[in-house]
Subunit: 165 residues, 2 copies
Amino acid sequence: MAESKVVGRDPEAVSRFVEGFAAQLVEAGMQRMPARVFAALLSSDEGSMTSAELGEQLQISPAAVSGAVRYLTMTHMVSREREPGSRRERYRVHGDQWYEALTNREALIKRWEGALREGVSSLGADTPAGRRMAETLAFFEFVESEVAAMMERWRVHREKTFGQG
Amino acid sequence: MAESKVVGRDPEAVSRFVEGFAAQLVEAGMQRMPARVFAALLSSDEGSMTSAELGEQLQISPAAVSGAVRYLTMTHMVSREREPGSRRERYRVHGDQWYEALTNREALIKRWEGALREGVSSLGADTPAGRRMAETLAFFEFVESEVAAMMERWRVHREKTFGQG
DNA sequence: CGCTTCCTTCAGAAAATTGTGAAGTTAAGG
DNA sequence: CCTTAACTTCACAATTTTCTGAAGGAAGCG
């Protein structure tokens, strides 16, 4: 289209993507509003939006934005910035920080490991069930150790493919 | 304790583990009943239980067992077996098949990739948002390719540690 | 120093999810 | 072939979750 440079973004196309991608995230277990907010940020050209912009695009109240953003910052998917000299806050999805958040179920896995350890000792390490749980525990420990290395390889791969972006 | 060989399993300790581990799985996004059923199977010495046994241990109706099991079999966390010459069904957690299910968000990731691809082309590969999404897409493709290799390394590691179990 | 703007918190209404009982279906065993 | 045991499906009730409007609080700007 001739107008592509200035208008560029067809709001309808953006919205379609946002809602579609958010729906996938919801199916993966994320709450609806955090998912929609995250998808909106991901599809913004700046990689960041203000609370008001989010509210308008998603047709939700400031309260809903606030709740979603609280969740997203707590899980490190999004960071908040103060626009200098303004009461406005910008919410930003960083280039790669959120990849880690998505895969980095660190705290979660730690707790699973704790629960499994307790299971092994309370059911007995010498019982069939105890052995099965010990093996499960070993699996998680293994994954944990591998993920760090994998993310490092990703960083290398990413730089090769996209430059230091 | 002297009775350890025959009684062995303190039902209360088992229940404590089951409910505790299930709660962790719930926090990770799994539905309550599937989580409880899965934890119960995991902590059983045979690695399998009948519908009736599950209903009794978890104090839930046959309908709830049925629903939970449907979910678990669909996600390949559990397999079902017919007890030969009986109407009873046994639900089993296999040694390692479920590890894969847990990490193998294959179908899910495929759909994310689809949604992202659509986003890249509808927002334009030459826009900042498009580039960000292309990079995200590359990340998922990278992870997908790495996970297979990681599971292979796990199998080797597992055999070394536990024998061919 | 007070006004205004923006964000957050809170209580409650609306909506979605979840588990049960009851009825229905399939298949073993006499 | 009929009986009966076991699992599944369905509709509904109860709980839980989710989002909103309204009130409250912090921070720039005149």
